[in-house]
């Protein structure tokens, strides 16, 4: 009985929560709609407004306070635009949130479908109210919504599989898209010529234009879908790479046909110019992107003193690359990708760990918002837009898209497989073909068309195709992937073994290629690497890291990740004795000889230490939150775990569980890692008796602090080290030095706030 009540209450609790969410969302929708309507009403009544506003003023002047001073006034016009934008975005994100709360829905239906559906709902509601729903404006889409998604994709593009399959991707992107465009355009024209369909007015060029618009695989939709099915890397990069690279083809074809559609005829010279245009557009786009990428990398070399604005450089240079390419009608997408790819290895070597995290999460955040908004707007625009439904045209379009895609992929793969080492199987071909989704780019391009007669029909057909691919193909691809037992993505991270052996094999293969006299893939890659190492890195990477071999940076990253993970899991995992950061010796030639490893302490004591630290750590984290604009978190503390000292102090520590231990750990020489506090209220004797010349770590818990380590952006007067005995834990010290270096904390700043120590604990 009790269980029944309990479960029902839980269920009702969840249901009521859902209801509340839904209710709140609806409220927002109404607010958005109302604001849209108010927009209209305000627009019409703009004229009388100033007059009206003057009136009270007038009146008050002439009649001497007949009207009371308005305690609360309503001025919506002032904030209208940002308010509505924020409201829309908030609505979109709440929707997204809602989907993931409802448990079963997100497994069956892909998110993109749900968002379009919501868009339809919202559009319907707005229309029902009687207002005109907003349409996905092409300018808004191309300039604001699309770049974040592409930048996110380009910046985190997995380079290795991309370059290994570049040939295949290019063939699919260029030849495949051309085939699609001409096939669809041609067939449509042929059908339009047939009497009785009522489509006689559509001429060849319009058909080809339509074909060009509808033929391109859309990166947004592909990304949204493939993210959820976790397919293996090869297929993912094939479809996704194709969707990115076909932008150049789409741009050229679109402009070409649009121009000719006005003129009416095409000559051979025009076709030739079209081909030239294609090369100009794609290569020019890549060039523009590469230039901005190099600029960005070069700039990041000097940002060691202003870490806070580092991410902005990445974003702005990339955005400028996109806009610059768009100015010349070059391919903006390719420019953005080239910029991100070019910039990334150098920027990542230069920027701090926190900036890296910031970049990653900002990109993900923006692209997520953009994607959500795009799909919702697609739904709304469907409801809003003028439609002209022609059964033949629309159905034909859908069928033709599907068929041409299948034919194109199969045919091209047959040719490509002759040149590939690892052939594409039939299953993989099917998935590649099936994954060719159309999306918002096609819609926006269609929207840009000027010819009113055909435009409505085209738009309707485009929307139908988009719906078909997103809903039908999007929903069924997951079960199909499972059914066909296509290889899924391997979830594991790269181990140091894999890295070493992969590099080893690279060298080996390069050597063998040289023996054979065969200038293949490895040969050129090796040449590029050599060129990079010899010339480029010196210019674009700051400091000593320019000479750091890739293996070492990989290893350092790995160690740091492991350290952070250890802390976050709070596990009692043994800190491997190899976790030494002897790499620090690289940049500190005066490093003192290190040889000792952590003296073993018994398991029981280790547990006690951990428990103590964890308890104190958590409380400290909650307390110590001091922010200033220029530096980030001052982090809590640092454990000074010399075994000898600990034995001495254990008793006191256990007694003072509620207090905080802070001890300043000062670094005299070069990159001071961060400030370390081990505040010990009552044990001033120990504090003063301590001379900490190097920071220390002896337990994984303490490593957590590195995560929150503060970055001194600028001036802090160096404080002389005052106390602390020489600590013996050379191992951890090296550790921390290395870890700090990995965080790329800037150089000359010393730890300031020693004074804060005593008055530190509130």
């Amino acid at each position: 009985m009790a269980e029944l009540l309990g479960s029902s209450s839980v269920r009702s609790g969840r249901a009521s929560f859902c209801l509340r969410v839904v209710g709140f969302v609806l409220l927002l929708v109404f607010a958005a709609a109302a604001s849209a309507s108010r927009d209209i009403s305000n627009g019409t009544s703009k004229e009388p407004n100033p007059a009206r506003e003057e009136d009270p003023h007038h009146r008050s002047n002439t009649t001497h306070h007949k009207k009371a001073f308005p305690v609360l006034s309503f001025n919506y016009e002032h904030v209208r635009t940002p308010f509505e934008i924020s409201l829309w975005i908030l609505l979109a994100l709440l929707m997204k949130l809602g989907f993931h709360i409802i448990p079963r829905l997100s497994h069956v239906v892909p998110e993109s479908c749900l968002l379009i559906f919501v868009g339809l709902l919202v559009g319907g509601i707005i229309k029902a109210i009687g207002e005109k729903p907003p349409i996905l404006d092409s300018t808004l889409f191309f300039l604001y919504l699309l770049p974040p998604i592409i930048l996110d994709a380009g910046y985190f593009l997995p380079i290795r599989p991309f370059t290994e399959n570049l040939g295949t991707i290019l063939v699919f992107a260029v030849v495949g898209t051309l085939w699609n465009a001409f096939f669809i355009g041609g067939m449509m024209y042929a059908v339009c010529q047939i009497e009785g369909t009522g489509l006689g007015g559509v001429d060849l060029l319009s058909c080809l234009l339509f074909g060009a618009i509808i033929s391109a695989v859309d990166p947004v939709a592909v990304l949204a879908m493939f993210e959820e099915i976790h397919i293996n890397e090869l297929l993912h990069i094939l479809v996704f790479g194709e969707s990115l690279l076909n932008d150049a083809v789409t741009v050229v074809l679109y402009h070409l046909f649009e121009e000719f559609a006005h003129i009416g005829t095409v000559t051979v010279a025009d076709a030739f110019l079209g081909v030239v245009c294609f090369f100009v557009v794609s290569l020019g786009g890549i060039l523009v992107g590469a230039i901005y990428g190099i600029l960005g990398a070069f700039t990041s070399r000097f940002t060691s003193h202003t870490r806070v604005i580092e991410p902005l450089f990445v974003f702005l240079y990339s955005y400028m690359a996109y806009l610059s390419a768009e100015v010349f009608h070059l391919s903006g997408i390719m420019s953005l990708i080239a910029c991100g790819v070019m910039m990334r290895p150098y920027v990542e070597a230069n920027i701090s760990h926190k900036s890296y995290t910031t970049i990653k999460y900002f990109l993900k955040m923006w692209s997520s918002v953009s994607e959500t908004l795009i799909f919702i707007f697609l739904g709304v625009s469907t409801v809003a837009g003028p439609h002209s439904w022609n059964w033949t045209f629309v159905v034909l379009t859908v069928i033709l898209c599907f068929v041409s895609r299948m034919l194109g992929v199969v045919g091209l793969t047959y040719i490509i497989n002759k040149f590939r080492i690892v052939k594409l199987t039939k299953k993989e071909q099917f998935i590649v073909a099936y994954g060719g989704l159309r999306g918002a780019i096609a819609f926006s391009l269609g929207f840009l068309l000027t010819n009113d007669k055909m435009k409505d029909m085209f738009l309707t057909a485009i929307i139908t195709v988009i719906f078909f691919t997103v809903f039908v193909q999007g929903m069924t691809i997951k079960p199909l992937v499972d059914l066909l037992a296509v290889k899924k993505k391997k979830e594991s991270k790269r181990s140091i073994n894999e890295e070493i052996h992969t590099q080893f094999l690279d060298h080996l293969l390069t050597g063998i290629e040289d023996v054979c006299g065969h200038y293949g893939h490895h040969h050129w890659k090796d040449k590029l690497n050599r060129f990079n190492k010899a010339y480029v890195k010196k210019w674009l990477i700051a400091g000593e890291r320019s000479t750091e071999p890739q293996l070492i940076s990989f290893y350092n990253k790995l160690e740091m990740k492991q350290a952070i993970m250890l802390v976050e899991s709070g596990s009692a995992a043994k800190l491997p004795s190899t976790l030494s950061s002897v790499s620090m010796q690289n940049i500190q030639p005066r490093a003192q000889p290190r040889g000792r490893i952590i003296p073993r302490i018994s398991k029981g004591r280790e547990e006690e230490i951990r428990k103590l630290l964890r308890a104190n750590l958590q409380k400290t984290r909650q307390r110590l939150r001091s922010y200033s604009r220029h530096d980030l978190m001052i982090d809590p503390f640092e454990d000074n775990m010399s075994e000898v000292r600990f034995r001495k102090q254990r008793v006191e520590m256990e007694r003072r569980m509620s207090h905080y231990l802070t001890v300043p750990a000062n670094r005299q020489e070069a990159p001071p890692v961060r400030k370390v506090y081990l505040a010990d209220d009552g044990d001033s004797r120990a504090v003063s008796g301590r001379r900490a010349t190097q920071p220390n770590l002896s337990s994984p818990d303490a490593v957590s602090l590195l995560d929150e380590s503060s970055q001194r952006a600028n001036q802090r007067s160096p404080d002389p080290p005052r106390r602390g005995p020489e600590l013996q834990e050379s191992q951890e010290e090296q550790d921390q030095l290395k870890l700090s270096r990995c965080l790329s904390d800037p150089g000359p700043n010393k730890d300031g706030d020693e004074d804060k120590n005593k008055g530190f604990i509130p």
């Binding site: 290994e164 040149f419 080492i421 690892v422 052939k423 391997k490 594991s492 181990s495 140091i496 073994n497 894999e498 070493i500 052996h501 992969t502 590099q503 080893f504 094999l505 060298h507 080996l508 293969l509 390069t510 050597g511 063998i512 290629e513 040289d514 023996v515 054979c516 006299g517 065969h518 293949g520 893939h521 490895h522 040969h523 090796d526 050599r530 000479t547 071999p549 293996l551 070492i552 290893y555 160690e559 491997p576 190899t578 976790l579 030494s580 002897v582 790499s583 010796q585 690289n586 290190r594």
Partner: protein, 195 residues
């Protein structure tokens, strides 16, 4: 050059090499001309100096080991058969070969044999284990001279720790295979010999 090469290489030899390594006729002929172009002494065999004359091999960190891999134990000359036998490891695996009957001996370019070839490049003393020292040597060759011994040592230790399963502080061939199971060896260790 072409005609002279083909007269020096008899048809029976080509057939034998074809059977042993799986290369096609045109590939064998092309590689034979490469062989003869390297063979400055024109005695039908290659010595170590002939290999070292290849410029890119000189700057390859693994250059010496690769050269050594061509020469059988203790010998200083390698003939064309041996040359092809070594190169056969890098032939791409074809689909129809995957379905061959399991009783036949494994072709030289099977995944296991490819990995064995790579393993042997690490394991110079042929004790079927990659010891810490051998690993250190390879690491040193790959990263250059600027990195300290201790740092390399810690990398080597970590590598062995990750791979080692039986606790002998070295990597055996099976552990090597296991570590690389996620790497697409068929693609990585294949060179597309143009038709």
């Amino acid at each position: 050059m072409g005609s002279r090469a083909s007269t020096l290489l008899r048809e029976e030899e080509i057939e034998e090499i074809k059977k042993e390594t799986g290369f096609s006729h045109s590939q064998i002929t092309r590689l034979y001309s490469r062989f003869t172009s390297l063979d400055k002494g024109e005695n039908g065999t290659l010595s170590r100096e002939d290999f070292q004359r290849i410029p890119e091999l000189a700057i390859n960190p693994l250059g010496d080991r690769i050269i050594n891999a061509f020469f059988p134990e203790g010998e200083d000359q390698v003939n064309f058969r041996g040359f092809m036998r070594t190169l056969a490891h890098f032939r791409p695996i074809e689909d129809n070969e995957k379905n061959k009957d399991p009783t036949a001996s494994e072709p030289l370019n099977s995944r296991t044999n490819k990995l064995l070839f790579a393993f042997r490049l690490y394991d110079l003393d042929r004790d079927d284990k990659i010891s810490r020292d051998e690993l250190l040597q390879v690491l040193r060759m790959m990263v250059g001279v600027n990195i300290s011994d201790e740092q390399l040592g810690s990398i080597a230790d970590r590598t062995i720790q990750e791979a080692d399963q039986n606790g002998d502080n070295s990597i055996s061939f099976n552990e090597f295979i296991k570590v690389l199971e996620k790497v697409d060896v068929e693609q990585k260790m294949s060179i597309r010999f143009l038709h």
